[in-house]
Amino acid sequence: MYLKSVKARGFKSFARPVEFAFEPGITVVVGPNGSGKSNIADAVVWAMGEQSPSAVRGATMQDVIFSGSDQMAPSGMAEVELVFDNSCGTIPLDFSEVMISRRLYRDGDGQYFINKSGCRLIDVGELLSDAGLGRDSHSIISQGKVDAVLEGRPTERRAHIEEAA
């Protein structure tokens, strides 16, 4: 079970479609300040169903839609697609690859898809839970947040273990 690819379009600084293909093992992403590295992490967190705009550094959820540059008009929609390798059968679906996608339009209208077929947020949550990925994304450590686990109360730290358990 691993994350095979991340596609983004109209998501934050990824106005044009991009695709990252990942392998098992260690992938390192480098680039200058402001180039879009953390936006990849945001894309994954967001596609997994994140409901809080501040978790992707926005004030409203529409903040994740490409808002334009000097040379390019704003996008009308943000879309991210994650493909998981499921050859180990961890997700109880009869597919060797499982795709999760999410869209958001400027008017706030949004959709979720599993294998390109529309679904509800709760379906995405259950699928991820089967995959061993909690809804609170404890496996994604955001920039500047590595200390966060030390700052919470001892009871908050429980959540990390409960999610994994």
Binding site: R16, G25, V28, S35, Q71, Q143, V146, P154, A164
Partner: protein
């Protein structure tokens, strides 16, 4: 759920001690279950025992049994205690920036070793670490790479060394992000529409 938590916690406890002795050579680390804070504070002021970050005191064996008998155990929090080599145990708030990062990373890895998630994304977790500690972190990451997938975001050259796959991203002249290059295990794969580095 309760016994799952306890079983998981015991494994995490074990792992934490081992990971700390690797990231803090000559040092020791310990996780303990503690009563929840009763005063509504963030627990810092209840630091009775020293060498721990906060939290309402450690439960004795008897107390644990009492709790098991009637009181809800699953309100207990997790207290983190680390003693670096040569230093005495003290509140985590007094630890240095780099030391705090290492403790947090040790906690995360301890959970990972007990119950690996399919993938982890680490975004600049080594920002506060000096080169020696970055190396310790990277050696550890390498030892895990058969078990789980890691996506590591960094602006440090040193960290690039452990990549099986390396992605470069860049902000284009048009104000949008693009993938500049991708290298897998030594082969460079330039992607179409890519400008030369240092545009």
């Amino acid at each position: 759920i309760e016994s799952t938590f306890n079983a998981t916690f015991e494994a995490v406890q074990q792992n934490f001690s081992e990971v700390v002795s690797t990231l803090f050579p000559g040092g020791e680390g310990r996780l303990t279950l503690v009563k929840p804070e009763t005063d509504g504070a963030d627990g810092v002021r209840e630091d009775g025992g020293g060498g721990t970050d906060d939290g309402g005191g450690v439960m004795t064996e008897e107390e644990e049994e009492d709790a098991a008998a009637g009181i809800s155990i699953d309100q207990r929090g997790i207290e983190i205690s680390v003693k670096p080599a040569r230093k005495t145990v003290r509140s985590l708030s007094l630890f240095s920036g780099g030391e705090r990062s290492l403790v947090a990373i040790a906690f995360l890895f301890a959970i990972f070793l007990a119950r690996p998630a399919p993938f982890y994304i680490l975004d600049e977790v080594e920002a506060a670490l000096d080169d020696t500690n970055i190396d310790r972190l990277l050696i550890m990451l390498r030892s895990f790479q058969d078990r789980t997938q890691f996506i590591v975001i960094t602006h440090q050259k040193r960290t690039m060394e452990v990549a099986d796959t390396l992605y470069g991203v860049s902000m284009g002249a048009d104000g949008t992000s693009k993938i500049l290059s991708r290298r897998m295990n030594g082969d460079d794969a330039e992607l179409s529409g890519v400008e030369t580095i240092g545009d």
